[in-house]
Amino acid sequence: MSDRESTEDGGNVASIEARLRAEALIVDVDGFEGPLDLLLTLSRTQKVDLRRISVLQLAEQYLAFVERARSLRIELAADYLVMAAWLAFLKSRLLLPPDPTDEGPTGEELAAHLAFQLERLQAMREAAARLMARDQLGRDFFPRGLPETVSHRRRVTYTATLVDLMRAYARIRTRDEFRPYAFDRDAVYTMEEALERMRGLLGFSPDWTDLASYLPKGWQADPARRRSATAATFAASLELAKQGLIEIEQPETFAPIRIRTRRKDDR
């Protein structure tokens, strides 16, 4: 083919080559992975380091390509046209003197970024090629072919003490008659006791009442006993509030906590 071309009129050779190249591009248009890929391919015709590439020239090449595709009635995907529009804009920026009132990036900045994108894409392609050229597992080097299985045994042991056992039995057998009471800890007022007491008193407190007034007799003087009773009563009131039996309020920080019975129609 080249022989035939060289025998022809020398003046035509360049244009024929150019035409062939253009047609090759057009035929190949499906083979490109988008406008950036096409630009990268076009940039190879400049045969320079990508960092010194002429973006203006590249833009012109691309626009010419799109123009030719259009004249050949080849339908280009939208992103090729978007890129063409952008490159046309970039070209005008690069050619016209910068407008001082115009904000935004200069043509040079845009061109530099495009060059960076092309260089980065090229670099990634080379990196991908180098990666795939490495020795690969299952092709160049191999894992153990006869692995021995590791048996996994999970053993669950259960523990229980004699005390647990007896306590459990006591719990069942005394469920009915047994009433909790605190022995050998007479300064402790339990929450159950508080609950018991409060439930008995609830019906009589339709209005806000200081929580402290619920403390049982004999638990108010001694500080240790008062503390325990207060804590238990407070805890019991939270439980009752949770059950929707009462409401709690505290007007401000450290103010007395007050409760009242929740009205039946509110429930």
Binding site: L146, V150, R154, A160, L165, Y169, E192
Partner: protein, 230 residues
Amino acid sequence: MTADTPDEPEKSLFEAPPMGEQERMVEAILFASAEPVSVAEMASRMPQGCDPAEALQHLRRRYEGRGVRLQRVGDKWAFRTAPDLGFLLQKESVETRKLSRAAIETLAIIAYHQPVTRAEIEEIRGVSVSRGTIDLLMELDWIRLGRRRMTPGRPVTFVVTERFLDHFGLESARDLPGLKELRAAGLLDSRPPPGKSGDEDEEEEEGNDGQPDMFGEDGAQGAEDEWNES
């Protein structure tokens, strides 16, 4: 062509790789193969003139006393874990769990009332006994089947085992303290010991029947726990 000239310095086209190389080759082949490999098979894969049988002997010596060793399997060869290191291929994890409340109560009833049928256990507990609970106690070898009750339906009974006595340090099930003694020992304290609260879920699962008192010890304990968490 007297090929056997080990001291031959210059390389010929048909010269086999040095024995060290052959050893490496045999090593790689045996390592990567999914099954034991025969000497003939090795020879067919290695460059011409190789002597895998000899390479094997070198290799075998090299692995003597190592974590793996070269082992003959019929007329084939394979790497195998050294027998004394077999324990490394077993992974064992032991998890200690507290017996669930349902299980401990069921166990207690069996211990105090043995031989006892399932229906009796349910009557005492007030809730049905799940199959899993019985299975677990059987698996632990703390209970076993006793004689069938000579009543209609001939239900099976459960009794505690030697292992149960052993675990709980009892000479016989009759040594279990009675209610009075439990109370005297302070074991009827209303407060569940710390850490027992986790049992609540279990209980709820089986239903709260027989616990009409919502504000009994358990309800209160449960509520307290919720506060502690927040």
